[in-house]
Amino acid sequence: MSLVELRSVAATYRRAGRDFVALREVELAIEAGEKVGVVGGSGSGKTTLARLMLGLLKPSAGDVRFQGRSIIGLPERRRGWLRASASMVFQDPNSSLNPRLRLRHIIAEPLLSPAVRNRSDVPEPGQSVLAAAMAGVGLDVDLLDRFPHQLSGGQRQRAAIARSLINDPALLVADEPVSALDVSVRAQVLNLLSDEVSQRGLALVLVSHDLAVVGRLCDRVIVIEHGLIVEQGPVGQVLTNPTHPYTEALVEATLSL
């Protein structure tokens, strides 16, 4: 049984009165502990794919399964097993952290969900748990009482990562986790993600248009163009010997120093 399975998934959305196809006929399986990069330009459907896995969007056709059970057509209160074991890190920590909450309340949020509280192995959101979560992402414990705007961009994204790991998930979906960050702090956040994912044996789905980032963190890469998977394979092979012209264009457009 795969951790995540997408079976003939299609997704459309309406904008300005017109229907757009975001994904068509996507077949995908992600195993426990696997690190998969989802690569494509903006509008390719890669972000839609990530949101479908977490039930944040509904597919227009097909089935999405998490740990063998379909997440489609269930009311939110019956998706507890998904909520307790899947997390997400967003692109922009300015937007993904509630500006009116202190860090301690932001980071502890996943522990407040009814789904997680039903799991016996999850600790109470006490000081020691929060301190450990902060230490785990390299943040000073004193920052727990700060508000997001009192932190730097890199610290905010570390806090977002701390939140995503506090319920000890099996799947971490990261949507462009470093592209809103300065080049100067990108490396540290990438090191952090890489360490945490490896140590915890998490499955990682990394959505990015930055091939260098995907090459750094992932084992397998999926290239998506206009809602279709056009190429996939081991990361070294796809990034060094791309076979599809779209992948070639992506590789060619990637700037390096």
């Binding site: 300005a16 903006s42 100067s184 490396a187 090191n191 890489s194 120093l257």
Partner: protein, 275 residues
């Protein structure tokens, strides 16, 4: 002859450490200077100071001479004339820089009209001409669209057209590709490279690899100061300041083996007050 001479420019907000601290650089009429630095380094404040777009309570000292004319202390009315004519700016986020309630063609038309004021009938032609020049394939359809109906790349192209339509002598680009994916970024950088020929350009970015595509010269800003400036290839090959060295090392994600941690700027340079 230099078109832009910035001398000992200092910008302060209140009693804090200056956001820009006594920086100097010059720009010839066809030169391009990249300014790189992280957020809070003062790079964006510098470009806003040149554009005269700083908030009222900013205290500016030093000199910004554009085409022989002193811009520090220039009245807002004069500045507005200058911005419509000789100096323009390409912003980072095209969605906020464009008016969402106005068709793209009309917004661009306002700029075109400023320049071709005398021949009113040709404004539409001017708009379509400019949209074509920035590589928009269906200029007529795009001109009649609202910003939200365009893709990110099309919006940024439209923004470039708006910045260039008044044929400015100096263009400031503030992270013009940061919100774009690599494919569109490549296209926009190529477009800028062509369209900025025969103009002076200041290109602000946090990404050295992006700046390198457009600018032969770069200034590295840190905590409000320029810590080094010069030929970009030379600086990449032999950075003199440890911060620059850290910036370059941490950007080379693809050169570090997977089992080794990426070097970060902090491994090379620690800010004085935090040490």
């Amino acid at each position: 002859m230099n078109i832009l001479e910035v001398t000992d420019l200092t910008v302060r907000f209140g009693r804090n450490r200056p956001a820009v601290d006594s920086i100097s650089f010059t720009l010839g009429a066809h030169d391009r200077l990249g300014i790189i630095g992280q957020s809070g380094s003062g790079k964006s404040v510098t470009s806003l100071a040149i554009m005269g777009l700083l908030p009222e309570h900013a205290q500016v000292s030093g000199s910004i001479r554009f085409d022989g004319r002193e811009l520090v202390g220039l009245p807002e009315r004069e500045y507005r004339k200058l911005r419509g004519d000789a100096v323009s700016m390409v912003f980072q986020e095209p969605m906020t820089a464009l008016d969402p309630t106005m068709r793209v063609g009309r917004q661009l038309g306002e700029v075109v009209a400023l320049h071709h004021g005398e021949r009113r009938g040709s404004i539409r032609d001017g708009v379509l001409d400019w949209l074509g020049r920035v590589g928009i394939t269906e200029p007529a359809r795009i001109a009649d669209s609202y910003p939200h109906e365009l893709s990110g790349g099309q919006r940024q192209r439209a923004l470039v057209a708006m910045a260039l339509a008044n044929e400015p002598a100096l263009v400031l680009c503030d992270e013009p590709t940061t919100a774009l994916d690599v494919l569109v970024q490549r296209q926009i950088l190529r477009l800028l490279d062509v369209q900025l020929r025969d103009r002076a350009t200041v290109f602000v970015s946090h990404d050295l690899a992006v700046v390198r595509e457009v600018c032969p010269r770069v200034a590295v800003m840190l905590e409000g100061r320029i810590v080094e400036q010069g030929d970009i290839e030379q600086i990449i090959a032999e950075p003199r300041h440890p911060y620059t060295a850290g910036l370059i090392a941490s950007a080379r994600i693809d050169r570090v083996p997977r089992d080794q941690p990426l070097p970060s700027v902090a491994d090379f340079y620690t800010p004085a007050e935090e040490a």
